[in-house]
């Protein structure tokens, strides 16, 4: 049971990482990256690191994402060809 959950989380991690890297729309990439951070927080809770899970959920999924979004609004949303 525990192993299956860990494996599922890892598959999700790899999927979100690849999606975040391949998305053409930068805003979409950033939002997928925030999902990646949230799954990483769950993974850390599974590895018995509640302190880190809390930090990652607040910093990785919250603050970092917002800083990225602000940057995209100030620059451009599409990747150049």
């Amino acid at each position: 049971m525990g192993t299956a959950l860990n494996l599922a989380l890892i598959v999700l991690l790899l999927t979100t990482a690849i999606l975040a890297v391949t998305a053409r729309d930068l805003l979409a990439a950033v939002i997928i990256f925030s999902v990646y951070s949230l799954i990483m927080a769950l993974m850390w809770q599974r590895l018995q690191a509640p302190d880190l899970a809390l930090t990652e959920a607040a910093v990785g999924a919250g603050v970092t994402t917002v800083l990225f979004v602000v940057t995209i609004f100030k620059t451009r949303r599409r990747e150049e060809e």
Binding site: L14, V30, M40, L67, E79
Partner: protein, 128 residues
């Protein structure tokens, strides 16, 4: 098979390679920064997996918690510091990205390099 048992380590290594691929191959700076963040979290993930103990519990001594059954607290403390440094690096890098865009109007690394070369040659011609 050791690799199958250590699937957490394998996942961390694969994530590291995905991040590195993005940093090297992608031309958009924001994409590069996302790749850098993925690399950072993969290393953190590797460290935390290293400190894991089968059937262990979080290193918080409440009640009758048994210290010999706790996971390793040292990587967790180090990674906590690492996350803070990571967010500081990201914030500084993003503010530099904003400044670059104001100056050159592009986020593409190749174009940035071309602009830089053009302005350099223009300067040299002015002087010479």
């Amino acid at each position: 098979m050791r690799l199958l048992h250590n699937y957490h380590y394998v996942a961390a290594m694969v994530l590291f390679c995905i991040g590195l691929y993005t940093v090297i191959v992608r031309r958009n700076i924001v994409k590069k920064l996302i790749g850098l963040n993925i690399m950072e979290t993969s290393v953190f993930f590797f460290f935390i997996s290293l400190g894991y103990l089968d059937g262990g519990m979080a290193p918080i001594r409440v009640g009758k918690a048994d210290p010999s059954r706790m996971v390793n607290p040292l990587p967790q403390a180090l990674i906590l510091t690492g996350i803070v440094v990571a967010v500081s690096v990201t914030a500084l890098a993003l503010s530099l990205v904003i400044l670059l865009y104001r100056q050159y109007g592009t986020l593409d690394v190749d174009r940035l390099m071309r602009e830089e070369e053009q302005s350099e040659t223009a300067e040299r011609e002015e002087r010479g």
